[in-house]
Structures are given as structure tokens and as C-alpha cells.
Symmetry: D2
Subunit: 346 residues, 4 copies
């Protein structure tokens, strides 16, 4: 019997990408689709690229729609604004797999949550980045999953091997570029096409971006000691993609060979992370629309630093693809079911 999935927040970019993937997933049957301000509208007007769902009508985001009488949903995806997931999730029974694509359940440290999000901490769920040490096992059979942020996905995958192998000093410097879809679909002047085309600009500089504590959490866990993160996000003139450049001082004794070896080992059996051949560097276009991650790493001997760079599609591996990958694990399906490693390029 097919796995029935509901999507709360089907009119946004995360919800739309999730539906694109679920439509191609052989085990999934799409159940309720909900929105708030858009409830009652046809999906074809809101997500015109999802042709097979053009005539589906959005329902309101209520517990009744998601888990009420005659509404069998084996999985409920929450693609809601930060801070709204907890209230919905607590109305869903313990047997339903709830996959939260928002930030609510990512952080372990309640103080971090309160400092960066300004509200009470809702809790911590198994973290949906299976490539991290120990993460895959925690997802098997899970009934609650916190999908990582898009930047933390790109950064953690690029840089955890350096920390897990004890090669990098504890101060990470990260500069990442994101396509505009990462900022969502709510119209704001600085996100207009007229503003973003032809322009690169930073934002959230100086440690204030909400994804910073999540990166610290992941890299510190890999290192087994506290890692500080200087994170600068920049907005790039493209719809999709994140390119993350991560560097840290190399510990004494590190060589180009030891760095390469650590990365080869970390990703040897990973279906979605591709360590590129030496001399080839990631490009976001190469992973466009796919769940693949391109990684490359270099050791700059003169500066004494390890530089690791990753490219992901922020909406796929960075959000909806990561959610599906973790769902597959939780449900006992093959981890790659319904997910592609082939980018849409050029």
C-alpha cells in the first residue's frame, strides 16, 4: 500500500519542491495539501510547474485536515514559517511520521534557540542529515525528523570530514552564496528581480544569521570539541543553489594527502555526496534540481589552511530532497528512492 503524504505549506518554495519530488517518488501517494492565505485556491495558479496537481485545491492547515477522520496520512511534511511547526506537530499522533522542514526542532541547545529565534524552544528531533556521523542510525524508524537548514546542509557536508578527522583548528570561517529561493516567496523589495539580477550582496553578517548555531552544533559534534563559526551569507543572482566556502587553519602535520584521504573516506559510501576528482571544483549548476552534493577540498600550504567547498541545490538537498532522503530512511525504504543525483544543466 502506498505511503500517503500530506504537505502543510504547499504554496511556498519548499512545499513546491517537495511536491515535485513526491510526484516522482514511486512509493508515495499525495494526500492533503494545505496553505493558509492561499487555502481554497487551485495549486495550478500557485505552482504552475506542478502540472499533474494543477487542479488540486489547497485546504487550510489544520489538525483536522492533516490527521482527522478519514484522512489517513502516513507522513506529514511541515513546510511552515519558523515557529509554527510545534503547534501543528503536537496535534499529530505518535504513529504519524512528521518531517519538519522549518527550524523549530533542529537545535539541541535551548539557549541558542532563544537567542537566535526569540521564542521558547520546542524541542529537538532526530536531525535529517544522514551523512553526519551517527545521524543515519538515529533516523531509522524515527517518527519525528528535523530537516536541516539549507546553509548548514552545505557547510556541514563540506567541512565535517576535516573536523571528524582532526585535521582542522577550531575556528571555522565560512562564506556562502545562496540563490534567492532560499529567502522564500513572500514578496519583499530587496528580493525583486530588478534588485537581485546583476548583484551580489551580503546579509546577516557578523554572527547573527540564524543558521550559525546549527553549523556550530554540527561541526563541534564532528570535532568532539567546540568549534567557532564565522559565517557570512551572500545573496547571488540565481534562483537556486548554494556554494559554501569553508576554511580553517590546518593542524600541525596536515598534508594535502591526509586531507584528501579524510574526504575520500568520509564520502566513500554516500549515495549523494560526490567528492570531485582533484582539479575539478563544484558548481551549483551541476546539482540544479538534484539531491547531489559536489565537494572539493584543497590544502593551501602557504596560508596553512584547509579550504573545503560544496555545491548543493538549496531547495533539493538543502530542503525538500533532504527531507525525502530522511523520510526514506525512517520508513525503511532505500535511501535514494525517488531522488536523483543528476543535475539539470546547462
Amino acid at each position: 500500500m502506498a505511503v500517503r503524504a500530506a504537505v502543510a505549506g504547499a504554496s511556498g518554495y519548499a512545499g513546491g519542491e517537495l511536491l515535485r519530488l513526491l510526484l516522482a517518488h514511486p512509493e508515495i501517494e499525495i494526500g492533503a495539501l494545505t496553505g493558509n492565505s492561499n487555502a481554497g485556491q487551485k495549486l495550478g495558479a500557485l505552482q504552475p510547474h506542478l502540472l499533474p496537481l494543477a487542479d488540486r485545491v489547497l485546504e487550510p492547515t489544520t489538525a483536522d485536515v492533516l490527521a482527522g477522520q478519514g484522512r489517513r496520512h502516513d507522513v506529514v511534511f511541515l513546510a511552515l514559517p519558523h515557529g509554527q511547526s510545534a503547534a501543528v506537530a503536537e496535534q499529530l499522533g505518535p504513529d504519524v511520521l512528521v518531517v519538519d522542514m522549518g527550524a523549530d526542532f533542529r537545535l539541541k541547545d535551548a539557549a541558542d534557540w532563544e537567542r537566535f529565534y526569540g521564542s521558547a524552544h520546542a524541542g529537538t528531533w532526530p536531525y535529517g542529515l544522514p551523512e553526519l556521523p551517527g545521524a543515519r542510525a538515529a533516523l531509522e524508524g524515527a517518527k519525528r525528523i528535523a530537516v536541516p537548514g539549507c546553509y548548514p546542509t552545505a557547510v556541514s557536508l563540506a567541512f565535517f570530514p576535516a573536523y571528524a578527522a582532526g585535521l582542522a583548528e577550531s575556528e571555522a570561517v565560512i562564506v556562502a552564496s545562496s540563490g534567492t529561493s532560499g529567502a522564500g516567496k513572500a514578496p519583499k523589495p530587496h528580493l525583486l528581480g530588478s534588485e537581485v539580477m546583476g548583484s551580489m550582496s551580503p546579509y546577516g553578517v557578523g554572527g547573527v544569521h540564524r543558521h550559525t548555531p546549527e553549523m556550530i552544533q554540527n561541526l563541534s559534534a564532528a570535532a568532539g570539541e567546540p568549534v567557532s563559526v564565522s559565517f557570512t551569507p551572500t545573496l547571488a543572482p540565481m534562483s537556486r543553489g548554494i556554494l559554501a566556502t569553508c576554511s580553517a587553519k590546518a593542524k600541525s602535520g596536515v598534508t594535502a594527502e591526509s586531507v584528501r584521504a579524510a574526504y575520500e573516506k568520509a564520502f566513500a559510501d554516500e549515495p549523494f555526496v560526490h567528492l570531485l576528482p582533484e582539479g575539478q571544483w563544484p558548481a551549483t549548476a551541476s546539482v540544479y534540481g538534484s539531491n547531489a552534493v559536489q565537494v572539493q577540498v584543497a590544502y593551501d600550504e602557504a596560508a596553512g589552511r584547509i579550504i573545503a567547498i560544496s555545491a548543493i541545490d538549496n531547495l533539493t538537498k538543502g530542503t525538500a530532497g533532504g527531507a525525502v532522503q530522511s523520510m526514506n530512511i525512517a520508513l525503511g525504504l532505500d535511501e535514494s528512492t525517488g531522488l536523483s543525483t543528476i543535475g539539470v544543466a546547462p
Copy 2:
């Protein structure tokens, strides 16, 4: 037993897109991949988005590689520059399905070919645009298929219903915009990113573009009388997509309702062509990376003209997706096998 497919010209944009689709096709096994100047190189360096084929090495484009001893290929796709297909095709046996993605076998009129391409006409093969009247039947069981040009695909699908239903006068005026991938991967100054970003420009104005006779052929066949075409192509600052705006004087007695009815009838059973609800217009982003076609039509009463507009992905429905769709028909597979109607958006 899987259908084995060879791709001649695997390093270009058409070849790359074809491989992206074939990798997702459940009945296809990918055989030989060939190039000319790139023979001997790994595909990962040339098409970094095709992760599963990264270690495949290109072979030279020879009859031996495509159809020699121990080289079972049920289908050979030719993604070669115009004028090179005939020489290769004639070395392939009559039992192999040969799908030519170049122009060589599209035109029925040898004089047209000679005028627009300046060489001897190689012949005419069944035309791979199944949505045209009579075309699907001609593809069933075919062993040779001529894949349409990208512009003629967009234009013919947008406008044949108006001619097939006898609604439009015989002078068609067409302005279409294409993404830069339609111009191929050979580096030329005017195709540099620095030149194309932020710029719209026309080319091949005044009836000289090589796709003009192909449009005339298709629209005239639909009309049952000669149709003239004024075609102006423009280069748009995007990688993929064609938006085709087609108009003609409406014949006497035409109404908005009769136009709508003709289009609804033409596409009622088509799996890939989506006539949008009234008031919604096509966008190339909505069909990005998919085989879907969005069509909308209006009747401008003041000007007395029918305006039909289509959006396709030039590399998918306009080239490689159209090739796979026609292959499916020729092989007796379900026409939609391995093809998606879901765009990658935003």
C-alpha cells in the same frame, strides 16, 4: 531485455540532455557514448551534472563504435552538427532505430534544404512531433526519426490548432525568444555570459533563420494550404527555454469561443501539452527541465488577430525529450515513459 542506446555527440548540450533523460528511463541501458574532439575524455569533465556517468570515457564517432561487432545498440541517437548525420546514418543497419536530433532529415522539400543549408538534401524521415495531425501514426514502428528543431516544436504546437481548425489567415507572424543553450556549446564571443546576461537581441531576422521552412512545412500541412511565416528569433538572458508568440489574422466569423474550442480539442488527449486555464499565460520557468508544453491562446478583437503562445524547454521537449518521446512511440512503449511533465521551478 533493456533497450540499449548509443549517443553520438555526447559532449554537447543536446547529448547531455538526452543522457540526463535516458538515465531516468526505466527501459534504457546506456551503451556507447561518442564525441569527436573530446574522444578519450571522461564524461565527468565535460558534463559534470551527469554524476552516474562521470567515469565513462567518450569514444570516437565511428560506425564501428555505434554498430560494430559486439556492440549491440537497439537505438542510436545522433546529436551531431547539421549535415553530419547522413554519413553516419547510412552505415547503420535497417534494424537499428536511428533518431537524428540534427536537421538533416526534417524537410520534405529538397530545394528548401539546399537554399537554407547549402548542401545536398539527405532525405526525409518520419517527423518526431507526435502532436501534429497524423504524425503519431507515422512514428509507430519507425526505424528512422527526424527530431524537429526547437523553434519549430514551440511554434508548431502553439499554432497548428488555429490552422487545422481553419481559423487563421495564411500569413503567420512569429517572434520567439530562446535561451542560449539553443546556440550550442561551441564558444563564440556573442554567447559569452558577459554578453548575454542583461541583454535581449534578435538574430536571423527577415526570413533567413534555418527553422523557417520547417515551420512553413508544419503550418501549411495543418492548414491544407500554403502558409507564409515571418519569423524573428531573439536571444534571451537565460540558459533554457523558448517562448513563442504566434499570431495571424483571424478568418471571418472567428470568435474567442471558437478559438478556445479548437485548442481544447487539439490538446484534449495530449500527455505533454497543457492548454492553460483562461487568464493564465505560459512561462518558460514552469516547464524548465520537463517535456511539458504550456499553451495559451487569445483572440484580439480590435486587431482581428489570433495570438497563440507556447513555452517549452528547448533542450527537453525542444530536442532530447522530443527525441525520447518519439523513440517511445517507435518502440511501442508508453509515450510518456521516462519523461516528466513537472518543471523545475522556481
Copy 3:
């Protein structure tokens, strides 16, 4: 003594472009800058590219600010939403030059205004497209100027010579692409960068775009007889620029030479319109940020049509540059003062 200019609507795209030009104008001193919702804010936060005005504070758009006690303004530019100019203009004295960059005073036919804008017609002012036959003289010494729409600027300049010389039949077919700045700075979902990058899409199809009657007015005046216009605007993935493709059946006896001669004659003495050498076609990038217009024309003998194409910067020649050019004429300055014919490319 410098000419003092006020700008009502200084926070939008038209107002910002106007200020960019006025800052470089040797005869102009910038007076009051007004906004509505943005009154009280520094311009540096709203128009960060206008460095010399970063500390100027926006005032409210009132007659007092624009023309009150101690507020000498020789020129008042109105960069306001359509329908708001008349109320402001009537409070400004007859000695102030008022340049309206909105639509309110462009149309001669009150019925056209009412049909397309749905309100009472405010009147007709001298039309600020000096290149049109007779237009320059009407601007000399004028105290009220209606700046043309961006599309009508591109279309009229591309196509009036064909009509003025009696070469074209009376049914014009026009397809034009515009950058997104033409849609303004008010944030709307379909104008988000995520939506427009990588996408071409039409809008206002079928004769409903408000610029249609303005084109009809201009081309009919040039022809000396009614010309119908089928106009299809499309949104292109770029911030600035309009590419207008205009065609009509050629009258009997027309030749490539007679077409070329008509265009050479029309633009021989024009400082801003550049008829390109034969074989070279306009590109919006070439006129980026300049007041220049590139025009090319072809005669398609097979289709029997004249195709004229122009490229402008919609914010410069299409709005603010056209406004300054007309202001120069009205004030008796050299028409080119403060205006450039050099695009910012690549």
C-alpha cells in the same frame, strides 16, 4: 542661475533613474525630493546607488513642498503612479515646467483613456518624444510635458518611419520584451528574482495592455490613417531594457532599398537614434543606462513584411532620459545636455 528641479516620487525606479541623470546634468540643481510611504527616510536607504544624495531626506508629496513659499522649483518631475499626476499638477503654477512621467496626459482620446485606465481623462499635454514628426516643435517652450510610456517609445521609434514614408500596411504586429524594472518597485510575487530569473513570460496579451492606444495614436499619426496594433509584451529576465520587434505587410512596390532609405532619412539628424549598419542588430545591453536607441530594419521578401527592431533602456530613453531630453528642449537647452549615448556594457 541653475535650473532647480523637484522630483515627486523619488523612491521608485523612475524617480531614481531621473535623479541619476539630473546629478550629471550641468544645468540642474536638485531641489525637493518627495515620497509618500517613504517620506522621512534618507534616500541612501532607498536608492543606495545615488551616493551623492545619500543623506537627503524624502519629504511628503504636497503642493507646499513642490511649489510653496521659499521653494523655488523651475521644473517639477512627477514620477507618480498612473492617475495621481493630475491632482498634483493642478496645484502647480503655469510658470513651472511640469514633466509628467506617468500616463495621465499622454492620450488624446478621452474614450481611450477611460477604456484602458477606468477613470476620467485629465487632458493632453505636449508629447515628449521629440523624434516623432512635429513633436519637437511642440515641446519648445512648453510648460507641460507628457513623457511617453516605455513600450510606446521603443515601438514608435522603431516603426514610425515605415508609416511616415507610406511603406507599411495599416496592421502592425508588435512583440516586445521588457526588463523587470518596467514593472516598478512595489513587491509582487511574480516579480521576485526567484520567479523572473531564467524565465520568459507574456502578459497583457490580446490588446489589453495600457500602452496599446498610445502606440496606435503615434503610428496612426505617422501614417495619416488609422493603424491597428496587435501588441504582446513579454517579461524578460533582466533588470533593464526593451527590445521591440515590429512588423507589418509591406505595401506594393516596397523594396529593401526603399525601406532602408526611409529609415536613414528619418534618423539622419537625430542625436539619440542610431540606425545600425546593415547586418548588425540591436541589443539592449548596448544601450544600458544610456539615452541611445538602436534601430535596425529588414524587408522579408518571402513573407512580404517589413520588420523593424529597436532596443532602448526602459528607464533611460524609455522614461527618465526621455523626460530630461524633452525638458532640455522646453527650457531651450541643447537637447543632449546631460544625456549620454554610451551604454554601460558588457
Copy 4:
């Protein structure tokens, strides 16, 4: 009497941008324009945006053309590929001001030159970044000027104040994004529009980019001690612009206030560098086509790092505008003559 300027390499992007600026410079008369493979062609075909020079014909790049009989040139700009300037420059007399926009005379350390460029070092000329400590004085009356590289311009301006004020530790980590025009006009596959649109990608990672020693030279001079630089350049999907993110550990005792004060002091009297108000961050769109530099700086207390970010137009302040600015100083003109601080936005 006007200053007569010749431009060697007028067909490339640097040469084109220089001509755009020289055309607007009130003291300059444009003399010989040269090219190599393009000699004999009209500039209008190569640089269609330079309308006033459309009919000028390129001459070959020879000493005779640049400095021969009857060829008075007060200034000769060299916009040639790296390594070609020295041979031309030595044929020009000592009274001609020679402004080299290539790399040949930027580095002081011959070993650095040889390691990064692989040829013999040609020498060191006064360095054309007047904002650096002591640089302006060295340019006054100079007859030879080495224009900085585009990345070193952005990086040095963003970060020298932190070093000059003794606030930053000696290990700088820099990630910068550049538009594609920085890679020049020679067509290469990875620079095609189809490849760069929608994609971010790094290159020259790990200390191998040729601009690295130039940054080290500038920052070390400001610090008065050796500074190491980890530099990662990335290619962004835009034609113009550099966004440079520079960070280093803060020295003990540094505060947000001391950092701000150092930057305010460094740029207080600079006509082109604009330290943004706190809370506002640079955007390349804001300086498009202008010689302005936007800078902002933050102190990340948690990470203990200073983060300074600049935005420039790589072709203007990063190349041709910087050249004109330095020329102005060398000739005793006002430094800002012919240069704008107003970006072309949106």
C-alpha cells in the same frame, strides 16, 4: 589643450570600459585605438555600446601608432594581456604617461612574479590605488602607473584599514565573487552564458590565483608586517561587479567601536570610497558602472573576527576607472574628473 590619449587593446572589456570613461572625460581627446587580431575593423562592430566611436578603425598595436611621427599622445593606456606591456612600454618615451592596466608592473617582489606568472619580472611602477597609505603621493607627477588587479582593489580597500590601525591578526581569509567580465572576452566554454547563468563556482582555490601576492603586498604594507592571505575567488552569474568578504581574527582589545572608528578615519576624505551607515551592506548593483566603492565592516564578537566587505565594479574602479583616477592624479587634474560615484541601478 586637451590631453590626447591612446588605448592599446581597445577591443577587449578593459579597453571598452576605458573608452566609455574617456568619452565622458572633459580633458581627454581620444587618439589612436589599437588591437591585434581586430586591427582594421570598425569599433562599432566590436564595441556596439560606444556609439560616438562606431566608425573609428582599429590600428595595429605598434610603437609607431602609439608614439610615432605626428602621433602626439600624452597618455598611452595599455589594456593588453599579461606579459605584453613591457615590450610596448619600453618603446614609449619617458615624457609619455604610460598607464598599464595589466599585471606586469604591479609586484615589487620579482620572485613572486616569476612564481605566479612564470616569466621574467619587468619591474615595478607606482601603484594606482591612491586610497592606500602613501600611494597618492607616489602617483603625483608619475609617468608610469601600474593599475591594480580588480580583486586586489576590492580586497585592499575593504581590509587595509583594519591592518593599518593594527586591529587584525596577520592571517587574512578572503572569499570574493566576480562577474564574468573579469575573465575577459576571449571565448571559452566555461564562460558561455549557458554555463554561468544560474551558477556559482570557485576557481583558483588554494593560493594559486595570481592576484594573491598583490593582496599580500598591499595588506602587509598596511600592517607593517607580513600578512598571509587565503584567497578564494568565485565566479558569479552577473557581468560586472566584485563582492569581497575579508576577515581576520581581531587583536586583543578590539571592539566594534574601535573597528568602526578605524574605517571612518581611513575613508573620511576619500571621494570614491563610501563607508555605509551601520546596518547597511554593500551590493554590487549599487556601484554598477561607477567608480564608487561601498564598504562595511563588522566585529563578530563570538567568533572574535573582523569582517570587512566591499563592492566595486570590476571594470570601473577595478580596472578602467582606477586607471583614470590615477591618471588624473599623475596629470595634476582633480582626482574625480570624468568619474562618477553614481551606480546604474536597478
